[in-house]
Assembly symmetry: C2
Homo-oligomer: 363 residues x 2
């Protein structure tokens, strides 16, 4: 049998430098744990635009469809702000999500003990926080038609369409219930059913899917109240399921509760492939941070934790994922800190590459 | 000349009891400050449904169009959850907003010194916080067509339409710039121009309107980053302008930063009427809180502060508004507390009515 395959798309800004650390980790697992991966690398975002004139070349798209997992760094930067909407770096990312049909975006918001002081929230509100947000990723207002800027009378009108079919809602709801079963059996679904018919259908379908999971305690919340409750008392939640746009905002809000964006990974999962593995892409929640790119300042942990998620969700190596996560916790407990993690209490300042080395030493 | 007119719509849940305190305050201004209002009262939300079978009767709508200002309590309650979408309590509120064309919803997120401990955020992050969110209130996905649940093949699809014309964006942007001129001359506009064409048009029009306000420092932020930044460092903002749906979520997120929802008012303003006053409705940000309704536990301050906004924005009585706000601050500094404001440090516990009395005493 051939080795499992990974396509690395470092992208823009700090993407390449954090991904370099992930490669070291991948190599370590090959050398020391006999987990050998076939790794290839390609361009996405602004980097792809610079070479191909599009933010994702067709050949790259085809490769992404064939591998067992894609690891993505980050896309975008001020240099590309002037580009037309259709070739902006983000379109490369959105094309990957859509064509790989990665409908379930898993975004853990976890507060690391060693970093609880970093949150803008009071320590007791966030210490031990461990939420999983499941965001629908291939539909809704991100992709609905009609869309565009049109002439109407003597002015223009900007239009986007929020659109969800029952089966789109059902499959992401099922993914969320499955996760809830493996966690604390508590799921909260968020929409605006008091204002939007798409939210009414969402609530109805989630409720129906819930009948297959009688052990899971299901609740519903309007998304505005959801944002409030995340700020007020985030530990009331375990798994949250919501649509693409609400998920974009609420998961970023939840991410910021932890105070350390450089720590948060994500997994985007689709349907099982022939080999039983789900179509999958893993990426850190943080952006391309062009202001610090190329200076060795970036925190590679979110990207490394994204690889841990790949070990768990794509390669059925939950124990190895835990090994990696534990090594990271140890390094943090030892006070090792990239610039973004350096608080008033001090610590051992390290560069991006040194952080990677420390994690390997802890493994 | 006749007295300025106010229509009071107490609505559901705690609406009637908090509005009773506002009436006392209105009476005080008539007796002691010679500010006499013609006050009438009517039904909205579930209360209107119970009597008329609709959440807002046509006659009530007509009255709202005629008065100088509407004061609304809150709508909704579990009793009405089973109702059809078209007659739910919220539809009464949305009809008022739409038919009065109240396009600019002003939502201050202000942290009261005496209550800074209430926030789930660290004191230094929120102490002295004073943001104004200007939310577009009559368009976007709340009202766009097509909308509904339709059959498609052998399943259903839920559809809503995000829709903004240039003139809709322009008028709310102008309202936000005007406010920024009266405050710290800093405006941040939030959308998802990286994903939505309606956001591209939004950004373009806001930028264009900004040319008429060269003194105002204008910035743009994606709404997901906006949610993050509100949690991370809210004091970086002064005035924020955003669309109806983003505004719903972001203003609730901002409101919760202050820790005291029972304190936050809002104003919804439209175009000037013949007498020069804007069409206007004022309402607390909190909901109808059915769980504590009728028990004298509700905090009337958000609703009283909404009347203070009416004094300022509808009746050009900024000094009287400040008088009322100062009285409220004094009562809070004295430790007077409704149940929701009672923290570990204790205080003088009071009922809804007693809070109203204390504020009048402080006036
Ligand atoms: C970069 C952008 C297109 C993207 C999104 O809006 O989905 C990002 O914010 C995210 O959450 O992954
Ligand atoms: C009650 C509801 C329809 C309303 C809204 O979504 O606008 C509320 O959340 C608000 O923010 O005023």
């Amino acid at each position: 049998m051939s080795n499992p395959s990974i396509l690395i798309l470092p992208g823009d800004g700090i993407g390449p430098e954090v991904m370099a650390e992930v490669r070291k980790i991948i190599d370590w697992f090959g050398a020391k744990r006999d987990l050998v991966f076939d790794v290839s690398e390609d361009l996405v975002g602004g980097a792809a635009y610079d070479k191909h004139g599009v933010p994702l070349a067709d050949e790259t798209m085809a490769k992404a469809q064939e591998v067992d997992a894609v690891l993505l760094g980050a896309v975008g930067g001020p240099k590309y702000d002037v580009l037309d909407f259709s070739v902006k770096p983000e379109r490369g990312l959105l094309r990957l999500r859509k064509e790989m049909d990665l409908f379930a975006n898993l975004r853990p918001a976890q507060c690391f003990d060693a970093l609880a002081d970093f949150s803008s929230l009071k320590k007791d509100v966030v210490a031990g926080l461990d939420i999983m947000i499941v965001r629908e990723l291939t539909s809704g207002v991100y992709f609905g038609e009609p869309r565009g800027i049109f002439n109407e009378g003597n002015e223009r009108v900007g239009i986007n369409t929020q659109r969800y079919t029952e089966s789109e809602i059902e499959r992401v709801a099922r993914a969320a219930f499955e996760l809830a079963m493996k966690r604390n059996k508590k799921l909260c679904s968020m929409e605006k059913a008091n204002v939007m018919e798409s939210g009414i259908l969402w609530r109805e379908v989630v409720t129906r899917v819930g009948q297959d999971y009688p052990e899971v305690e299901l609740s519903h919340m309007y998304a505005d109240n959801g944002a409030m409750q995340l700020v007020r008392a985030p530990k009331q939640f375990d798994v949250i399921v919501t649509d693409n746009l609400f998920g974009d905002i609420l998961s970023d809000c939840a991410a910021m509760l932890t105070g350390s964006l450089g720590m948060l990974p994500s997994a985007s999962l689709g349907a099982p492939m022939e080999n039983g593995r789900p179509k999958a892409m893993y990426e850190p929640v943080h952006g391309s941070a062009p202001d610090i790119a190329g200076q060795g300042k970036a925190n590679p942990i979110a990207c490394i934790l994204s690889f841990a998620m790949a070990l768990r969700y794509s390669f059925d190596q939950g124990d190895e994922a835990t090994r990696l996560e534990t090594a990271i916790e140890k390094v943090l407990a030892d006070g090792v800190r990239t610039a973004d993690l350096m608080g008033p209490e001090g610590g051992v300042p390290v560069s991006t590459a040194e952080m990677g080395d420390k994690i390997i030493a802890a493994l």
